[in-house]
């Protein structure tokens, strides 16, 4: 290397290093523009093999042009949700969402409805109603109901047409400790392996307090007396009675109260006989009991009702019918069938207030009605002389009145009504508790699940509160307690059922496709992913990106900077310079 060449090289290398240093000090800004990669959230709601397979296919198909993330983020351009039901978590309203519904193939037979009472008294069978639907005609199905792991009912049915629906009503006995988890399963007959093709659960609690009934016999009346006796011989009821035998002479039980007494609210149901003796004040008290207390009033006439106060209370059009021979009334709602020969045919004055027709005459005329009155019910029996045939049909008279008044008492508003949604939870699932106070007089309310307090928020309706809680992580039964403190402190305890598997009814809940409809997306099946891919490519475009870059902030500049200085030093040393 000649000296001139070396001097040039030294100068050039030094210049490069100085230039880099100067540029770093200046830190110039470079503005860029162009299209970036859109961020696409591909979310599998359920951890299933099918969902993961779909997700992998979508990542392969769209990963080259989109930035795939597993969760919905705030900057996601769109989302693809894979699953079989509407997600629990909310989705941003502005987000474009497409869905891939991975629902299992529809079973040949499925449960579409399962109903059981929310609570029952001790020693009472549970009425279970189920609706089953099949795809094909000629399908024979087995419906099994089990409680506490024990099969208590098995019914078989053969369907004769496609998409036929069969209603099954069963009375089952509770097994084990309350609350009872009723499990219904339907499967094609002869296919024991597919026993779980359609399964649903319901929870039934135990009513620990007796059903409180007050009976008023305003004059001696066989009709009311035999209703009272039917209840008194059943340990599920706490029956108090006032029987007016004559003017100023009455027989009463120790816990009975007068109609106008506010303590009447401690009863769930009031039974009244001798209606022509009802005064206007009595009617007002009964009306208040129904509307404010939410209780049930049962009117048991034994003759045509002509007195004005009683007619006002009934508010029904009444026609008397006398028969030569007793006829068996057609009862509904699972009530026992009564015999009667003297009937009052009841008709509501306007359509829409018919309430429940509990029993009808042979020609279909209503004889026994249950009508709404405010928060409560009015139950009117037009079977005037049914008590005469009380021994027939295995004491159907007693069974009818016990069943009817038990239902009325159970439907009466308790001081604190607690509802849990959903009734059964999976571990760590979010649940809601609804509390309704019968009398909300500024009382303080506390609630807890398994000792953990729940914050209750007031609802628009008076006395209604709502709270959210998370189920414990371990399955089992946890106590849920709601307490009211104040002048009359009282509380309610429920057992919360948490178990790993909670089957929902087929077709219950919102479908996943609903979220695609509401978020401008499309819903496809796993077999139509190419259609989804085309939709995403056409709809989810890459955003225009206006970038600002500072190139000198790259650490890579250190490399040429150091290299230049090192080379310059080497050249100088080879030339013998220092």
């Amino acid at each position: 290397m000649t000296a001139s060449t070396a001097a040039f090289a030294t100068t050039a290398l030094r210049g490069i290093a100085v230039a880099i240093a100067i540029a770093a000090l200046i830190d110039p800004v470079v503005e860029t523009s162009g299209r970036g990669r859109p961020r696409l959230a591909v979310v599998a709601l359920q951890a299933s093999l099918a969902a993961e397979r779909v997700r992998a296919q979508l990542v392969n198909a769209l990963g080259d042009t989109h930035e795939i993330v597993p969760h919905i983020t705030s900057d996601a351009a769109a989302a693809i949700v894979i699953g079989d039901r509407y997600p629990d978590e909310p989705v941003p309203a502005h987000l474009l969402v497409a869905t891939v519904t991975t629902a299992d193939p529809a079973p040949r037979a499925r449960l579409v409805r399962l109903e059981a009472p929310r609570e029952i008294p001790a020693g009472t069978a549970i009425r279970v109603d189920a609706d089953i639907e099949v795809l094909d005609a000629g399908t024979a199905t087995d419906l099994t109901v089990s409680i506490d792991g024990l099969e208590v009912v098995r019914l078989s049915h053969r369907f004769t047409s496609e998409h036929e629906r069969w209603h099954a009503a069963m009375d089952v006995v509770p097994v084990g400790a309350p609350p009872w988890v009723v499990r219904a399963a339907v499967a094609p007959s002869g296919e024991p392996g597919s026993e779980g093709s359609s399964v649903a659960h319901a929870v039934v609690a135990l009513r620990r307090d007796p059903l409180a009934v007050q009976v008023f016999e305003l004059r001696p009346s066989w009709a009311t007396a035999f209703v009272r006796r039917a209840l008194e011989s059943d340990p599920r009821f706490r029956v108090e009675s006032v029987s007016i035998a004559s003017r100023g002479v009455e027989a009463r039980t120790a816990g009975s109260v007068a109609l106008a007494d506010v303590r009447l609210d401690t009863f769930d149901t009031v039974v009244v006989g001798g209606l022509e003796q009802l005064s206007a004040a009595d009617v007002r008290a009964l009306d208040r009991f129904m509307r404010d207390r939410g209780g049930a009033v049962v009117l048991v006439p034994d003759a045509r009702v002509d007195s004005t106060p009683a007619r006002g209370l009934m508010s029904l059009q009444v026609t008397e019918r006398l028969l030569e021979r007793p006829e068996k009334l057609t009862t509904k709602l699972g009530a026992a069938a009564l015999d009667a020969s003297e009937l009052l045919l009841l008709r509501a004055p306007a359509p829409g207030v018919d309430g429940d027709v509990v029993a009808t005459a042979v020609d279909g005329s209503p004889v026994i009605l249950s009508l709404p009155r405010g928060r409560g019910r009015l139950f009117v029996s037009g079977a005037l002389d049914a008590w005469r045939y009380r021994a027939s049909d295995d004491r159907a008279f007693d069974r009818f009145w016990r069943g009817a008044i038990a239902a009325l008492a159970l439907a009466a508003a308790p001081p604190i009504e607690v509802a849990i949604a959903p009734p059964m939870l999976r571990p760590l699932e979010r649940g809601e508790v609804f509390v309704q106070l019968r009398a909300d007089a500024g009382a303080a309310l506390t609630a807890s699940v398994d000792g953990e307090p729940i914050r209750l928020w007031p609802e628009p309706e008076a006395g209604a509160y709502r709270g959210v809680f998370t189920a414990p992580k371990s399955p089992g039964r946890m106590p849920l307690e709601v307490k009211v403190t104040g002048n009359r402190p009282h509380g309610v305890a429920r057992d919360l059922v948490v178990q790993e598997r909670v089957d929902a009814l087929a077709g219950s809940g919102a479908p996943l496709s609903l979220i695609a409809s509401s978020h401008r997306g499309i819903d496809v099946t796993p077999e139509r992913l190419d259609e989804l891919e085309r939709f995403v490519r056409a709809t989810v475009t890459a955003p225009d990106v206006a970038g600002v870059r500072r190139p000198m902030r790259s650490t890579w500049w250190l490399l040429p900077f150091c290299a230049s200085l090192c080379a310059e030093w080497c050249v100088r040393r080879r030339l013998g310079r220092r």
């Binding site: 009375d171 006995v173 009934m314 004055p349 306007a350 005469r388 021994a391 009817a404």
Partner: protein, 675 residues
């Protein structure tokens, strides 16, 4: 000392090879037989172990049958050979190179010595003998261990047994043979069953139990009454009388066997009077009356008789005289008898106003006799005839109502006569007035009688207001017919149809007269509890009437429902339990006993108990045990369903406040009331 060796011929060279081959063949035969024998001995413990032992022994013994081992054995067997077999072997295998002469000589010596060795010297049969002896011992032990283990188990105290017993899932050593001997009068054959799940017998049968068990003591419990059985010969025997449905529980050491017993009762004879079969009233004369009585029974009849009672007198002075009319019997078979008799009225010596009440009485063949009688009928002497005889002795109250009904007929007749002269509206109004009157009479009847009662005995238990002892009879039916006729009359009068009303009213009077006629009143069973005293009505002091406090008697605890709930819970626990078969079996047998003790007479509970016991026996077979438990659950649930109260009526839930408010609004617009 040098001994001259025998001359060796060249053709003797192959002799050692033959010897080795023969010895090897025997050795291998011995090895195979010995291995098989040891394997058979070991298979007494386990078949797999037997195969393993056989293979091991065969491999071990096989090593001694190879040529080097045999050559060494020959050397050991003939120490005088001084290694000549080993040298000959090496020469034959060309492992040693020597001069031909030496080779010839060595081979010749070896062959000469080998001739003195027999295969049996090297492989004797003694190992086979030893193996056979061992096999016999092992199999003897295996076949007898079950027996003496059972004996040993029963030697330990019962407290120690209960911890380890339970029947287990293995084959049971408790066998029960039951010979059921029906009562002799039934003429049914005896039956014998072995290990029955359930016993069925006629009431009064005798069951002879023969129980084979290795236990020292056996306890037999019949319906909660335990007793100890004695061993007779090789088995325990016991005799039980089967008089009612129940159960037998056999406890033998750690094993228990429960057998539901279903006893079919011997029904009472069914007796009826075929002729005359109705009440007769004669004004006098001497008519001849033919009687015919029939009786049937499920197993056989012993007697059939026609008995009578003559009632004579009047007022409070009545005389009763009993007698019997001999029947000419004509039995069709032992279970169906009939008898006839014919008597003139004068034979009974009846006077005016006397009455003869007769009935047929039959007894079946059981010891002590189950006796039943037919309906009773009467024969009365009355010159007034049938119509006049009715009603004249009615009690005051009933008479008043009957007379009221008669008065209503008079009124209706008058109205009917005037109907053509009356305006329509006036006729209708008058008829409606009579309808109200008719309704009041009917209401008085119904109220007084406490309604129409189907099951009087049950009603009497619960209702102190009712007159006791009104058993359902024809009089009861007559009362019902009267009230029905009154309803029909009321309906006709409401429609101003006086002709139809008259027919119905007269029918009502006739029914009342039948119901309260003197004869029916006498034949009615007298009240066993309270008798109404009409004379005391409206005679009390009103000032003494005051309030009173009703106190309800506490209801008895529903023990049966609680027990059924516990049974269901027990079955549920057995269904999901992970117990070993022995523990499961023990728990299941306890539950089976609980099921049968709840109510042995309930067929569903017997079925449940039997199924649970079957599950206990099939404890080791998961599928069969689950099937049996499923059957038990179905039966127990069906029985429990009867004990549980019916579910409440399914009322539609109200929309809070809105449903009532909506109804109020509609009511306010349209109004309501009676029409």
């Amino acid at each position: 000392m040098n001994v001259r060796k025998p001359p060796v011929l060249p053709d003797e060279r192959p002799g050692i090879r033959d010897t080795v081959t023969a010895v090897s063949r025997r050795g291998r035969t011995i090895a195979v037989v010995e291995a098989a024998t040891w394997g058979a001995a070991a298979s007494a413990l386990s078949p797999a172990l037997g195969v393993f032992v056989a293979v091991a022994v065969a491999v071990w013994r096989w090593r001694a049958t190879r040529r080097p081992a045999i050559v060494r054995a020959l050397e050991r067997a003939q120490p005088s050979a001084r290694n000549v077999f080993v040298t000959a072997d090496e020469l034959e295998r060309d492992a040693l190179t020597v001069k031909p002469a030496v080779r010839t000589r060595v081979l010749a010596d070896a062959a000469a010595i080998a001739r003195s060795v027999t295969p049996g010297d090297l492989f004797p049969a003694a190992p086979i003998v030893r193996a056979v002896v061992a096999g016999l011992f092992a199999w003897t032990l295996a076949t007898t261990v079950l027996w003496w283990r059972t004996v040993r188990d029963h030697d330990v105290p019962p407290s120690a047994q209960s911890a380890s017993a339970g029947g287990g899932s293995g084959p049971s050593s408790l066998h029960v043979r039951v010979a059921v001997q029906p009562p002799p009068y039934t003429q049914l054959p005896a039956t014998t069953q072995v290990d029955p799940e359930q016993l069925q017998a006629v009431e009064g049968a005798t069951a002879l139990l023969t129980i084979e068990s290795a236990a020292r003591n056996i306890t037999l419990e019949q319906d909660g009454q335990p007793r100890t059985l004695d061993r007779t010969g090789g088995a325990f025997t016991g005799r039980v009388e089967l008089t009612r449905t129940g159960y037998l529980l056999i406890a033998a050491g750690g094993e228990r066997r429960m057998m539901p017993v279903v006893v079919a009762p011997d029904a009472l004879p069914n007796v009826r009077i075929a002729a005359p079969g109705r009440d007769l009233v004669y004004p006098g004369g001497n008519p001849r009356i033919a009687f015919e009585a029939r009786a049937t029974d499920d197993f056989g009849l012993r007697s059939l008789a026609l008995r009578y009672t003559i009632v004579s007198g009047s007022g409070e002075q009545f005389d009763f005289k009993d007698g019997e009319i001999p029947l000419a019997m004509a039995p069709r078979d032992p279970r169906d008898w009939s008898g006839t008799a014919s008597r003139a009225l004068a034979d009974f010596g009846l006077k005016e106003g006397d009455m003869l009440v007769y009935r047929a009485v039959a007894a079946d063949a059981r010891p002590g006799g189950g006796t039943a009688s037919s309906d009773a009928f009467f024969i009365e002497i009355s010159r007034l005839g049938v119509a006049a005889a009715d009603g004249f002795t009615l009690p005051d109250e009933e008479t008043r109502y009957a007379l009221s009904q008669q008065m209503l007929i008079v009124k209706t007749e008058r109205l009917h006569q005037r109907r053509n002269q009356m305006p329509r509206d006036e006729l209708t109004e008058a008829a409606l007035g009579l309808a109200v009157e008719q309704r009041m009479i009917r209401a008085e009847f119904v109220f007084m009688l406490g309604g129409e009662v189907e099951d009087e005995e049950v009603e009497a238990e619960q209702s102190s207001e009712l007159q006791a002892g009104r058993l359902e009879n024809r009089g009861q039916r007559d009362v019902r017919a009267a009230t029905i006729a009154m309803s029909r009359a009321e309906k006709a009068l409401t429609g101003a149809d006086t002709a139809a009303a008259l027919v119905a009213e007269r029918a009502a009077v006739a029914a009342l007269q039948r119901a309260f006629s003197r004869e029916r009143y006498l034949l009615r069973a007298l009240a066993s509890r309270t008798r109404l005293d009409p004379a005391r009505r409206l005679t009390g002091d009103l000032s003494e009437a005051s309030d009173w406090r009703r106190t309800l008697a506490p209801l008895p605890a529903d023990r049966r429902t609680a027990l059924l709930q516990d049974l269901l819970r027990g079955i549920a626990e057995l269904t999901i339990t992970g117990d070993v078969p022995a523990t499961f079996s023990q728990r299941a047998r306890v539950l089976a006993e609980e099921a049968i003790r709840i109510d042995p007479a309930a067929p569903q509970l017997r079925e449940a108990a039997t199924a649970i016991q079957r599950a206990a026996a099939d404890a080791a077979d998961s599928a069969r045990r689950q099937a049996a438990l499923g059957q038990a659950a179905a039966a127990a649930a069906a029985e429990a369903r009867r004990s549980f109260a019916a579910p409440p009526t399914a009322m539609r839930p109200l929309a809070p406040a809105l449903g009532g408010a909506f109804a109020d609004a509609l009511n306010a617009r349209t109004g309501g009331g009676s029409r």
